[in-house]
């Protein structure tokens, strides 16, 4: 798949079909990849795919001008579709290089399981449903369901539906939706007061680095409400109240665009379980409006559309 990707990317650039390639190249740390954004055909030799291509690259589409070929996993393709629905990018300007994805390995889970940091692990290899981890000469095996990102476990679209070139065979979902939302389920069981205290505590840690917002392909506003100064809705300093409101409103603003790709939670340096919010919103949107973000390129964006009769029971 990797070879095919490199050949394809090179020829797209060579033939002038695209101006940019967005993909992954090996990262500077063990088991990491990093976004490769290039115009140079020789760079395409560094393109990789695999179990560690974490980033949702669709984020970079709106920054580039010209035609762009982009490597997209299933979830990324949904974000791209969502951007197209919102008229942030033109379908004609993008070449989607679809990558069927059986799930991405969550290094923090592996680290937890073997009680070692990433750089102390010698090797991580995946063979279908089993991930073997070699630490200090010892080989340990884990079912994929234990080491993949939570959002991958509940993945609804492992193989992109919208693509120009599909690199590889379609793959089926992991299908462990319950495991994908354990924190959320735990929260749902709490009384509301306790839930609120939970979030109060979690957002007490927030340092307002805005990584959650900046990695998010659905957060594309040129100017975020949190940066408005007249009126100043929120203080620009990390009080838990302001942190919480920021995140709640961010989630509401991206409702119907958020594909539950999990990037916000992954990027958070202080481990706030943000996916429990995004997932909740995702489910609410599906439940109330039977809408799934980025699944149907012909659908109108959730918050610009309506049905004459819906959600009436919430209104007096």
């Amino acid at each position: 798949m990797q070879q095919r990707l490199r050949r394809k990317a090179r020829s797209l650039l060579e033939q002038g079909q695209v101006d940019w390639i967005i993909g992954f190249e090996p990262g500077s740390l063990r088991f990491t990849t990093t976004p490769l954004i290039t115009k140079d055909k020789d760079d395409t030799d560094r393109l990789v795919v695999g179990s560690f291509i974490v980033n949702n690259l669709s984020n970079f589409l709106i920054e580039l001008s010209g035609r762009v070929a982009i490597v997209a996993k299933g979830c990324d393709s949904r974000s791209i579709v969502s951007l197209i629905q919102d008229n942030k990018v033109n379908r004609e300007d993008i070449v989607i290089l679809g990558v069927p994805c059986p799930g991405i390995i969550d290094l923090s889970k592996v680290e937890g399981l073997v009680a070692r940091d990433r750089d102390e692990i010698d090797d991580i290899a995946r063979q279908d449903g089993v991930v073997s981890v070699r630490v200090g000469g010892q080989q340990r095996e884990f079912p994929a369901g234990q080491v993949l990102f939570d959002n991958c476990l509940g993945c609804e679209l492992p193989t992109p539906k919208e693509y120009d070139i599909l690199l590889g065979e379609a793959t089926s979902p992991i299908g462990e939706p319950t495991a994908s939302q354990e924190t959320l389920a735990r929260l749902k069981d709490m009384p509301p007061d306790e839930r609120w205290r939970f979030w109060q505590q979690e957002f007490g840690r927030c340092i307002r680095c805005y990584a959650c917002r900046n990695v998010c392909p659905a957060c594309f506003c040129k100017r975020c409400f949190v940066e408005e100064s007249e009126p100043q809705w929120l203080l620009p300093m990390p009080r838990w109240q302001d942190n919480l409101i920021f995140q709640a409103i961010r989630n509401i603003h991206v409702a119907g665009r958020c594909t539950d790709c999990g990037e916000c939670e992954r990027a958070c340096p202080v481990n706030i379980p943000l996916r429990s919010l995004t997932r909740d919103m995702y489910d609410i949107v599906a439940d109330l409006f039977q809408f799934k973000s980025g699944m149907d390129i012909a659908a109108a964006p959730l918050l610009t559309a309506y049905e004459v009769e819906e959600a009436e029971d919430l209104i007096r």
Binding site: M281, Y306, I315
Partner: protein, 153 residues
């Protein structure tokens, strides 16, 4: 405890100027009695309401927020209230998921001629807010100052 007995909920009404605001006016001019707990902000359309307004109101210490617009099909701008409905519905559910009592965010359709309905809605909402008690969601460490000041004002 004496304070608790005296406590009266503070409700923020975000009312569409084409219907509910006029409805509130009508309730007033026709001397229909309803609780004085509501403070009203006139908005050009219920579709103008960013959920941010709602959370900010709770942050400032309001005990509840009532969003009110035109009945489905009657929007002055054709579709504003339909869009508002989507937004309000998912905001209500989402905030509930975070631990905010669903009764703190209320929505209604009140036309310009429904002064009676407006009074009823406000009475109902205030009654519910009394049941759940004061909003202490954002009280705690520092920001409480702002909330206190608001509560006094």
């Amino acid at each position: 405890m004496a304070q608790d007995l005296e406590w009266e909920p503070r409700l923020l009404g975000l009312l569409c100027k084409w219907c509910s605001y006029a409805g509130a006016d009508l309730a007033g001019t026709s001397r229909k009695k309803y609780p004085a707990n509501i403070r009203i902000i006139k908005v050009p359309c219920s579709g103008r309401i960013d959920p941010l307004f709602i959370l900010k109101a709770l942050h400032l210490g309001f005990d509840g927020v009532l969003v009110s617009g035109c009945h489905p099909g009657d929007c002055h701008y054709q579709t504003g209230n339909y869009r508002a409905r989507r937004r309000i519905a998912l905001t209500k559910r989402f905030l509930e998921g975070m631990g905010i009592d669903r009764r703190r965010l209320q929505a209604s359709w009140v036309s310009a001629s429904e002064g009676v309905k407006f009074a009823d809605v406000v009475s109902q909402v205030v009654k519910e807010l009394k049941e759940i008690g004061p909003n202490k969601l954002f009280v705690g460490e520092r920001n409480s100052d702002a909330t206190e000041a608001q509560a006094k004002g």
